[in-house]
Amino acid sequence: MRPRGCVPRGWQSENLKGPDRMLRITGGTVYDPANGINGEVRDLDVEDGKFVSSVTGGRTIDATGLVIFPEGVDVHTHVAGGSINFARAMTPEDHRRTQAFIRSQTRRSGLGGMAPTTFATGYLYAGMGFTTVNEAAVPVLSAPHTHEEIADIPIVDKSCLVLMANNEIMLDLLEAGEYERAKRMVAWHVWAAKAYGVKAVNPGGVAAWKWGKDAKQRSEPVEGYKNTTPGSIAASLAKIIDELGLPHPIHLHCNNLGAPGNVSTTLETMKHLEGHRAHLAHLQYHACGGDDWHAMKFEAAQLAEYFNAHPNMTTDAGAVLFGDTVTITADGPWQHLLYKLTGRKWGNLDVENETGCGIVPSSYRPSNLVNAVQWATGLELLLLIDDAWRVFLSTDHPNGACFWRYPEIIQLLMCADYRKECMAQLPPEIKNRITLPEIDRECMSFENCPVEMERIERAEIQQCIAA
């Protein structure tokens, strides 16, 4: 009985000897854009985790009637740790109405829904052909908790990013001009949290939130500081991360999330980051034009244009799908605003020396203009950014939608007719606010696969269960 990690990813392990190092997958329909394989039925041979021309002996998997494609990687999701666990506690009504996984001899029981339980998270991701998920927000203090939960997510590989941009000790060091010490601080935090990289959420804004305020402008000093601005925090962190040689660049959640007019903040931030690698998280939420909620429009085209010209950047879409979800982010100020807008339940969890995390159950409705524009913007970003290697599919699970709804987004990207069908349900005022109707591009799985392929060079083949 293997309750945890019940599908052994044996062929990848260096410890295995003899025939266990070999694997043969026969009869599957293979899609591999990087190598120009478009729906061929063929056999694949794997030795020590790498494709080879042939193997003798070892295990054989009959994949007849199944699709074989590169693994999915979710670069930005919230599946483990204090905040998602707080969200689980807040939404028993959702657990009751969602899908239930019944325990078997090899699987633990679990619940899906807006905030799935750890075991269900692993089963659901694996069922979609994902093999790697990245928990995007870990306060260093509760990192041990996050890792305990991660240990209970079966099948997929997990990594996490440690939150840094509101750490008072680091802000103090930057304020004092102690750059080298700040750099060592970051290195220590990455080590202590056993993280893969660094996430910066609403730089300076959360620190201010702890006094019930927010950092709105990128160029104004953060509450309690003289020189340190949100922009300078982001730029310093990007530099530190590049110098430390971390594999993942700064993972930045810009300020003013979801607020009308924040596209200017986002563009300004991108300029601050020139010369460094950077990953801009859930870009959809940072693409709002207009001055207030009524004049709100989205500026995906403008962002995409800048983005296309700057190869130092990667991003994920933070797409939105209509339906119920629970929003959970380390951006406490935005959550409080959302609570006031929706009047629904609200949870908030502040952790010393870094984060304030808000949790609000909410729904996205096609009849709501702002939601409709958000929906379109997420798709526009995925369609308008030319280099598919630099834009990732994400919904910032569970904020924009739950991760197990990714197939719906993929359908929307691959089929312009289906998009038109969905757009017909949007309110008429949406015209002139979005560019989606003018986009005919269809991301064929071959031509420009939208599924993440960051690690395709060491692509493992994930058996995708057609059902």
């Binding site: 309750p3 325990r103 633990r108 029981s109 305990e148 209970d152």
Partner: protein
Amino acid sequence: MDLKVIDNATCTFCGCVCDDIQLHADENRIHQAKKACVLGKAWFLNHTAERKYPDALIDGKEATLDEAIEAAAEHLYQADMPLVYGMSNTTCEAQRECVEMADHLGALLDSHTSL
């Protein structure tokens, strides 16, 4: 006699879970619990490593650990609606085992919180 000193020991008596206690212990008992409060001191000093109780009891009679584990498993397995309860004064590692066992048993699972 030299006492073993353990720094930053953690007290689990109350929900504060103070993790800055200094313990001075020999093989059998803890002699000092520095920084601990009255309750914490009593908690640390009252436990010993002595064999005060039998390993296990079945129907009130002394039994071996193996026998008791076998008997416990059989009772739980045979029940139509077993209950797994408590989990306050124990470690997270044991709690995880309890949840997994309850899952496999199809049991009721509850902690002190519901009291």
